[in-house]
């Protein structure tokens, strides 16, 4: 109906509650998690098959009886791979992480719905299909942030997130309605064709402002970022990894897609605006966490800084810059996902997020602490790890596009970010002061397996980046056409 990967995800999302009901009867709720992980793995296989079909035969088009249209190109496949990959890690990790919670089948169902929403967003071929999948992702993420409803913090964060994000979605819809009034269609290719005749008119600017505000709320560009630290720190840790690693990046994808296809006529203007915004975003995102003592809030703020780096690559508007942005989306998903899952492991054992109270945890949980330190070094941009390669690509692209000031800002921000990442690592290695830390032991194996795989990917993609560079480059060429 909606191309094999999304169909698989939707079918598994709808059958998970039924399987969950049966597994709750036989007191083996973990089986339900295993079932949804199976769904994600099958979906990843279908995405791999689509990759084969697209690399030989160009973009694929699906039209279903809803007259919704999907147009899958290399960029869509690239993004979908990240979404499903991080989804598999989060799903495996949740098998043990959520063992003290109730309503686990619904958690998995919502997780699968969120991932299918994201995959649908990147596969959509017209603006309204895009919007429907976008709302599907948003609604399930509000519910997942508020999953631990018996505590006050997730409820408050989810309410803030819901109000800001749905106001953003409504703004996006308003911008779409103006575009529709100008062109009479919402198909991406049709819009591009119709607007190339119009040139730049006042209404195009108006709709561009509305659309960029709407997408900017979701991707946490700085004046619109205030929901992010609350929502990402209050959500359960696997969901924090998903939100910070991939959901925010869906907004960046949307800016790429809409910007380079629809707003191509006024490219110079919106790229200039994005360059300024990326500068502000990086500085705010890297200066605020210097004062944080809450581990998950610190990681959430540093996501804003990384959004700034991605926007810097995007603002160059060249194939190299877009390659850097896409690589950074992939690498950031893995690095930040691993960091959040490690923070969740410490939270699982100690039930605290304060850095003072977890002093010396590295002596008791060596594997977790080692992976945590590795992911933080990668986030800083240490040379042999994957974060370095993508940041270097972005800096090279800014120099190539005569925007070296932006590249210098990225370097300065990497240095600033090292200050708080190293402070976090220091907290892990201090002498033990709390009795709780003394009694802690290494996390369960089921939770360590995804972390070990992610740590492996951080190292392997840092030393052998060629596969990723080629994949990201073909995705960037699919969007920009030629070059």
């Amino acid at each position: 109906m909606f191309s094999p990967p999304i169909d698989t995800l939707l079918i598994f999302a709808l059958t998970t509650p039924v399987i969950g009901w049966i597994t709750e009867r036989v007191k083996k709720v973990q089986l339900c998690g295993a079932y949804s992980t199976l769904g994600l793995v099958i979906s990843l296989w279908y995405i791999y098959e689509l990759f084969g079909a697209i690399s030989t035969g160009g973009s694929q088009t699906y039209t279903s009886f809803f007259s919704s249209q999907l147009r899958i190109d290399m960029l869509g496949v690239f993004m979908a791979t990240i979404f499903v990959l991080i989804g598999i890690f989060a799903s495996v990790y949740s098998l043990r992480y959520l063992e003290r919670d109730t309503g686990i089948p619904l958690f998995y169902s919502l997780l699968l719905l969120m991932i299918s929403g994201m995959v649908g967003t990147v596969f959509a071929g017209d603006f309204f299909t895009f919007f429907v999948f976008w709302e599907m992702m948003c609604i399930s993420s509000y519910t997942l942030v508020a999953f631990r409803k018996q505590r006050w913090e997730p409820i408050e964060a989810a309410f803030k997130y819901l109000i800001m994000s749905s106001a953003g979605s409504a703004t996006l819809l308003f911008g779409m309605s103006i575009l529709y009034g100008m062109c009479g269609t919402l198909n991406f290719q049709g819009l591009a064709l119709a607007l190339s005749n119009v040139g730049s008119s006042v209404w195009l600017y108006v709709s561009a402002i509305f659309i960029l505000i709407g997408l900017g709320v979701k991707s946490a560009i700085v004046p619109l970022h205030t929901w992010l630290p609350d929502a990402h720190s209050a959500a359960p840790s696997p969901i924090s990894a998903m939100l910070s690693g991939v959901v925010v990046e869906t907004g960046i994808y949307a800016i790429c897609r809409v910007g380079f296809t629809i707003l191509a006529g006024i490219e110079v203007q919106w790229l200039g605006v994005l360059a300024i915004l990326s500068l502000v975003t990086m500085f705010v995102g890297n200066l605020t966490p210097l004062l944080q003592t809450d581990l998950k809030r610190l990681l959430a703020y540093s996501s804003i800084g990384h959004i700034g780096y991605m926007l810097a690559g995007l603002a160059t508007g060249t194939v190299l810059g877009l390659t850097g942005t896409l690589m950074h989306i992939f690498n950031h998903g893995i690095m930040k996902g691993a960091a959040f899952l490690c923070a969740g492991m410490i939270l699982y054992r100690l039930e605290t997020r304060e850095m003072k109270e977890m002093a010396g945890i590295g002596r008791k949980m060596p594997v977790t602490a080692a992976i945590f330190a590795l992911s933080l070094f990668a986030l800083t941009g240490m040379p042999p790890l994957n974060g370095f390669i993508s940041e270097l690509t972005i800096i090279m692209a800014t120099v190539e596009a005569n925007m070296a000031w932006l590249g210098i800002a990225v370097i300065v921000n990497s240095v600033i970010s090292a200050a708080y990442y190293l402070r976090t690592i220091k907290a892990l290695l201090q002498p033990i002061t709390q009795k709780k830390v003394e009694e802690a032991k290494e996390g369960p194996l089921v939770m360590l397996i995804p972390l070990l795989i992610m740590a492996g990917l951080i190292i392997v993609l840092g030393i052998f980046p060629d596969i990723l560079i080629n994949f990201a480059r073909s995705a960037a060429i699919a969007l920009l056409g030629g070059g």
Partner: protein, 103 residues
């Protein structure tokens, strides 16, 4: 005969009313109504622009608005659930009380 410009002025006014509502109101239910007003401004824009060519009404806009109303309903359903839980935790619907998250 009402011209398209009048419809556009109306929908922009509606959008501004929604933004004003989101900025000034302190009751959680009213904030939700502000979101609904924003979505309705967009829906109104779609419907009015569909009939801008005389004698032709584009069915695409009608189907978009139908789906959009359904999406708005699901957003409000989730919002009302969260508001109910917030009321249970705080005993009030005033958003100024929800200020414990800081930094």
């Amino acid at each position: 005969m009402i011209e398209t410009a009048h419809y556009l002025i109306f929908s922009f006014t509606l959008y501004m009313i929604g933004v004003y509502c989101l900025v000034t109101k302190r009751n959680m239910i009213r904030l939700l109504l502000g979101i609904e007003i924003l979505i309705n401004a967009a829906n109104f824009n779609f419907v009015s622009l569909a009939s801008s060519i005389p004698g032709l009404i584009d069915p695409l806009a009608m189907s978009i608005v139908t789906v959009s109303i359904g999406l708005a309903a699901s957003v409000s359903a989730v919002a009302v659930i969260i508001i109910v839980y917030a009321y249970r935790h705080y005993g009030t619907l005033d958003v100024r009380m929800l200020k414990r998250l800081k930094g």
